[in-house]
Symmetry: C2
Subunit: 285 residues, 2 copies
């Protein structure tokens, strides 16, 4: 039997993954949720038809969204994570003993339950005693917080559907307010390659630049996301992502990683000319 899952990366390009078995399919109040088993990429999670993570390459996304800010900020104690119901961000964060608590705000309770049931490799640390799960809209949650977090990680879906509010100026402004005076916000920042993604990426960047004094973009190779070229935003009140990287301190921790290294950290901020050009367009105030 031939069973293929396909995701349109644009209306005219699609990636298809051979499926052994559909492990789960359901509808929450917010979205359709599917989990598949595949020979090439292991299990993978799909929300409203879009691949959120695969077991084979999720390490890239999760290491890059967590270790980059953790290697820059001198002492992260309080973390807010928005989205990320799969638990991958939390798994990487719990490797840092100095973190005192992690508020995980996921709007869709069913996503967390499905990940607990079918994706134990990412969901494995959701029961860490420092993790507090809030089933709320991240947009509303962050409005109520002030001067509290050292780090906010916005692990949103794409800027349409349930994740839409997490790409607004109001949201980034509230994140700024919720951060302490030397806080850092990192977000998934879409891709620069296909036109619709690049437009979303520029729009997000413009709004972050307007909200934070320091705003840089970094990149990673994520094979199962559209174009494989994915960006992250690093927005900060005080620390510069490259000049304030303390590589020696991070290396001394001896954390084993498969993608992130402090050397790669430096390289990830060196963007292609066309991406720099896209971003510069919206940096002029």
């Amino acid at each position: 039997m031939e069973l293929w899952f396909s995701e349109p990366h644009t209306p005219d390009v699609k990636l298809s993954i051979r499926v052994d078995k559909q492990l789960y399919s359901g509808e929450s109040d917010l979205q359709r949720i599917d989990v598949f088993e595949s020979p090439e990429l292991g299990r993978f999670l799909v929300l409203d038809g879009y691949v959120m993570l695969t077991e084979k390459d999720e390490f890239i996304y999760h290491e890059m969204i967590v270790h980059v800010p953790m290697a820059v900020h001198p002492c992260v104690k309080r973390v807010l994570v928005i989205g990320a119901g799969d638990g991958g961000v939390v798994r990487e964060l719990t490797r840092y003993p100095e973190i005192e608590y992690i508020d995980l705000v996921e709007i869709d309770q069913q996503v967390i339950q499905v990940c607990r049931d079918y994706l134990p490799r990412t969901a494995c640390k959701l029961d860490d005693e420092r993790v507090y799960i809030h089933y709320e809209d991240g947009l509303k949650f962050v409005r109520t917080r002030e001067d509290e977090y050292d780090l906010i990680i916005v692990d949103s879906t794409d800027p349409f559907g349930p994740g839409e509010g997490l790409f607004t100026k109001e949201f980034y402004g509230n994140c700024y307010k919720a951060l302490r005076e030397d806080g850092i916000m990192v977000n998934q920042h879409e891709s620069p390659f296909y036109e619709a993604d690049a437009t979303a990426c520029m729009r997000a960047h413009k709004r972050i630049v307007e909200s934070f004094p320091i705003s840089r973009v970094y990149q990673a190779h994520i094979p199962t996301y559209p174009s494989g070229h994915w960006l992250f935003g690093f927005a900060s009140k005080r620390y510069h992502p490259v000049r304030d990287l303390d590589a020696a301190r991070w290396d001394e921790r001896g954390l084993e990683t498969k993608y992130y290294t402090t050397r790669l950290h430096m390289g990830a901020f060196c963007l292609p000319a066309y991406v720099e050009k896209l971003l510069r367009k919206v940096e002029i105030r």
Copy 2:
């Protein structure tokens, strides 16, 4: 009408591109050659079913295989290009006035003719007066040369079919011999992500390490190649690809590029931990 071209990236993952029209289809003595027109990626060239280039992203591959060595070597006059019948490498090389001649060795005359006819954006400089086209097997051509070239660019297809010989120890040894005492060889080095590509990549790296005193690998985001994460090999008799980069000199040229910058050059050599690990495995002599 729905018309889709699909390329298997592995037996279990495939990328599909919507096609407006098949512009050319033919068989040479060596391989099947197709050119398609697509709404998303422009025209694209396919050899034996594998995408060689698309008009939308070929700039990434061609800029990265040419400008990286050109920004390191202090004065390239004689260049050998193997494969690359599409003309993209030659197009980038002809932007350097100090280059005196370029030997382009392409085994398949029909590829060059098809690219001239259907891909003028890459083939546009094949008639530059410094370009000498040799319709020969690159493996045999390089055997006859000694102490001649400042730069050899190996723009091969994958290591099976007509391109197979360009991944052997004998070939790399002959490239070493054909280079002058401070020569550089750059080659396309496959991808580290999917297993079969990673195996090819490690095998090529092992053979290059055995043939050259300096051998480093660098990466680029090439969305239409398997996984989008593509590697290049930089092998050299004297110059180190990062320490001997003369960024100021290259920047002064004022060449306009869409992907390459001297800052990105540095970043491209910062590889993910898992890629460094793969390469280290074969670096031990």
